[in-house]
């Protein structure tokens, strides 16, 4: 009984290794070195998990599909990095927004107030980033499922907004209407493919972009419910989430190439996510920023700079990989 319990526990730990032969080898060694115990030593468990994770992250060449565990880890890292990066950039670009007159606390705590609308965007962003991650890893079925979930969520928000009496005039929310149309087209195409069982025509990355745009559109729709805004807020409201979407896409190759850096950033940034969502919503759509258009242009410029940095970093990484013996 003791030996079977030890075997089961050692097998569970050794499964962290992506290569089955290596997992079997580690299992055997773990079992033999912990003979007479009911469970492997904690130090051995931590040691095997650490090296197994390193083996997982190192097992795939950039751009190839990896294990599902890798995809989930990268998705979490991407989400945290993107939100944290977005919050940091907004803080850098927007001047301190004065709180309401009835706020008695410190100014910096004003941003920690919660808004229900802010949290409505988080599920869409999560669904979108998981979809994009799956697309980047070549997981066609998962990407399509994620795109369906995100598109359906966008359509649901559109319906709820309409029923609640929110303004959906093309003048007030042109982007929202365009994204709603795109969502309907995408759903129709998806349904057609399913019905006709057509050969692969639409590439996987299209599903990722569709999911991203749906998340952007859903974000705009939730913000427009009952709120009066102008074209400047529309621009800012599209560019800022678009920046977040680009950060998501950039983070995929970077997280795969520098997994430990991004894992550390995720651990530090995860607590900031709800606050970042609140801040993004508040400054971009409530028209409390001093100059929305410069903010949007600044976000666009930061977007392009980040993209250039990411491409250069990847280029260096590939060059180092080619040069190493």
């Amino acid at each position: 009984m003791t030996r079977r319990t030890l075997e089961r526990r050692c097998r569970r730990v050794a499964r962290i290794y992506p290569d089955q032969a290596r997992a079997d080898e580690v299992f055997t060694t773990l079992l033999e070195s912990n003979a007479g115990r009911t469970a492997p030593r904690p130090g051995d468990v931590v040691n095997v998990l650490w090296h197994g994770l390193r083996a997982r992250f190192a097992s795939d060449a950039p751009g190839t599909s990896g294990a599902f565990g890798d995809a989930v880890s990268v998705a979490v890292v991407m989400l945290a990095v993107s939100y944290a990066g977005l919050a940091a950039m907004l803080m850098a670009m927007v001047r301190a927004v004065p709180p309401d007159e009835d706020w008695s606390g410190p100014t910096y705590l004003w941003m920690f107030r919660t808004y229900e609308e802010a949290y409505a965007t988080v599920p869409f962003a999560i669904a979108a980033v998981l979809t994009a991650t799956a697309a980047a890893y070549g997981r066609e079925a998962l990407a399509r499922a994620g795109a369906v979930v995100t598109l359906a969520s966008g359509a649901l928000v559109l319906l709820v907004s309409r029923l609640s009496g929110a303004s959906l005039s093309p003048v007030d929310s042109p982007v929202a209407v365009c994204v709603a149309v795109w969502s309907v087209v995408a759903l129709a195409l998806l349904a057609t493919r399913s019905v006709t069982r057509a050969a692969r025509v639409v590439p996987t990355w299209w599903w990722g972009i569709t999911a991203m745009l749906s998340a952007v559109g859903s974000y705009r729709l939730t913000m427009s419910s009952g709120t009066t805004f102008d074209w400047e807020s529309n621009v800012a409201g599209v560019v800022v989430p678009g920046l977040a979407a680009t950060l998501f896409l950039i983070s995929v190759p970077l997280a795969r190439s520098f997994p430990y850096v991004f894992a550390g950033a995720a651990l530090a940034a995860v607590p900031a996510m709800p606050w970042a969502a609140t801040f993004a919503d508040y400054s971009a759509t409530w028209n409390r920023t001093p100059r929305p258009v410069p903010v949007a242009l600044g976000a666009l410029a930061a977007w392009l700079v980040l993209l250039a940095v990411a491409l250069v970093a990847l280029r260096w990484r590939r060059r180092d990989a080619e040069r190493s013996p």
Binding site: A21, E25, T29, L30, N47, V48, W50, H51, R54, A55
Partner: protein, 105 residues
């Protein structure tokens, strides 16, 4: 060359061993000072295999458990000999200086 790597190569110098066998031999050679954990051991073995110092000699399945036996290659033996000579020279220099201080090592 770090001490655990040196000891792994030394453990494989006289015969091919599997993972647990290497762990036991390293502990014996170091008098219990150096204890290798499985994750560290296999990461080191992978590195040594990629450097051509160690190679997989054979695989066995014993009681449904996989055992891979590793052996020292010719290049590995040369590198081990060079590292051993370096350590011996350093140790001899240290012993000479300690004798002057009246300390025997």
């Amino acid at each position: 060359m770090q001490e655990p790597t040196f000891l792994i190569l030394t453990a494989l110098a006289d015969e091919a061993r599997h993972g647990y066998g290497v762990m036991q031999e390293v502990a014996a050679l170091s008098g219990g000072r150096v204890t290798l954990r499985p994750g560290t051991l296999y990461a080191a073995l992978d590195r040594l295999v990629s450097e051509g110092l160690v190679a997989v000699e054979r695989e066995e399945v014993v009681a449904s458990r996989l055992r891979r036996y590793y052996r020292l290659t010719g290049e590995g033996a040369t590198v081990l000999a060079e590292a051993s000579a370096r350590l011996a020279a350093n140790a001899a220099a240290a012993r000479r200086r300690l004798r002057k201080l009246g300390v025997t090592a």
